[in-house]
Symmetry: C2
Subunit: 247 residues, 2 copies
Amino acid sequence: MPVNLNKIDAVTSSGPETANFAEQVIDQLKQDILSGYFAPSEKLKMTRLKQRYQVGVSPLREALSQLIVEQLVVVENQRGFTVHPISHEELKDIYHTRAHIEALCISQAIQLGDDAWEASIVAADHQLKKSARLLEQVPDNGTQNEEQQRLNIQLWETRHQAFHHAACNGCGSKHLMQVRKSLYEKASRYRNLWLKQHMLNHAVFDANQKEHEALVTALLARNETDAVILIKHHLLEPYMLLKDTNF
Amino acid sequence: MPVNLNKIDAVTSSGPETANFAEQVIDQLKQDILSGYFAPSEKLKMTRLKQRYQVGVSPLREALSQLIVEQLVVVENQRGFTVHPISHEELKDIYHTRAHIEALCISQAIQLGDDAWEASIVAADHQLKKSARLLEQVPDNGTQNEEQQRLNIQLWETRHQAFHHAACNGCGSKHLMQVRKSLYEKASRYRNLWLKQHMLNHAVFDANQKEHEALVTALLARNETDAVILIKHHLLEPYMLLKDTNF
DNA sequence: CTAAGCAATAATGTCGACATTATATATTAA
DNA sequence: TTAATATATAATGTCGACATTATTGCTTAG
């Protein structure tokens, strides 16, 4: 008795565009891999996945197939699926390629961006700053509500990403933006693995803030050379932290 | 009675690594889309696909799922799969992004490439030139065997691609090379659609040859600025032909 | 003649079942 | 005890079946 339960939920949700099981699963599965819930090189057994996501094998295999292309999952015939392994080689490639790609986006955006692009940067920067202020005001000794702090960090990261997205989006290329997104996701996996062992300190936030200010200035002034140097440095700095860690 | 016929074939083939049905289908399906056998925006009905590739729906859906990520196929819930539509907007984005990416590869390769990289360029260039000579020697009036000529063109295209692959491969980045490959494939679709209406003439081949000579010189001399200009022009030239066509 | 509503047909998305293959366990010999 | 083999268990990959949904064709009213 296969009943499309998703339809029932879909009615309560907004648009006429529903999602099949595979589409529903793929986001959760991706998040579980990027967040580190499923460890690198871990075997993804169907029985467990079925239990976790409450779907059959067919949608699961479709979702996993998509993650193969995104290189988050590896498949070996008759031996099932495993989480894509990590390596320092890949880590280096991801961060460096990301720096190149994002610099390319920035270059194009500076050449092609219109007033709406500038406005979106100013807006995103404003939101990011407000979010950063929340984090700064907290004393180093964790007297504040920990859960609240966690949410603040999450909000900051969302807005941080939104800022860079806005800056890059002026390039006007869907393909560039997509490559950029893919690399960001892969980088975030290593980042999350690092966060399981280490703690962010205030120094990095402060440095980040200053770099952003300089970047915004360069962007609005359409200073391509400066902006490219700044963005590359900005994206490679976390790599310096990650590259010497044993995951 | 599901019998894994592929295993039987696999024994006759080489390695111990076999492929499941989905992996076998995906290459053919991709080729059928890139070649234009399945037209843009065409509906991909399961019954037809089953007949063509002689597999059930499960492997097909897996293969199609992968092509969704590569943006060669579009899915709409309860309405099945269709070939990704084409547009002049996408055409422009593909070719321009490709030019940027390949220029980036070339830049990095010039900075990082070793002797093996240089050697691979010389080797690929040699093969390409020999293949080009076959095409040049033929008189314009098609007195020669048409089938032979078709094969010669195909060989030239393979070697042409191999040459550019070799030049880019010196960048040392798997991610860059993969983005490059993806863009090449998407561009080849538009190219193939164009070829269904038009014919290649000798002039383009001659121009191509000269550009290659200049490129090889710039690469071996590690002249980054020249090489970047040359490769961008080289990749955008076909766009000039395609951009004004009605597919 | 056109438009709208309805029935019939076809196609999609999902699951369970089954054959094949891999992995874990037990047994036995050295 | 260890290594090798045989058995048992578990997991994978594929297909057919079925409910749901979309599309087509037909009838009928305006």
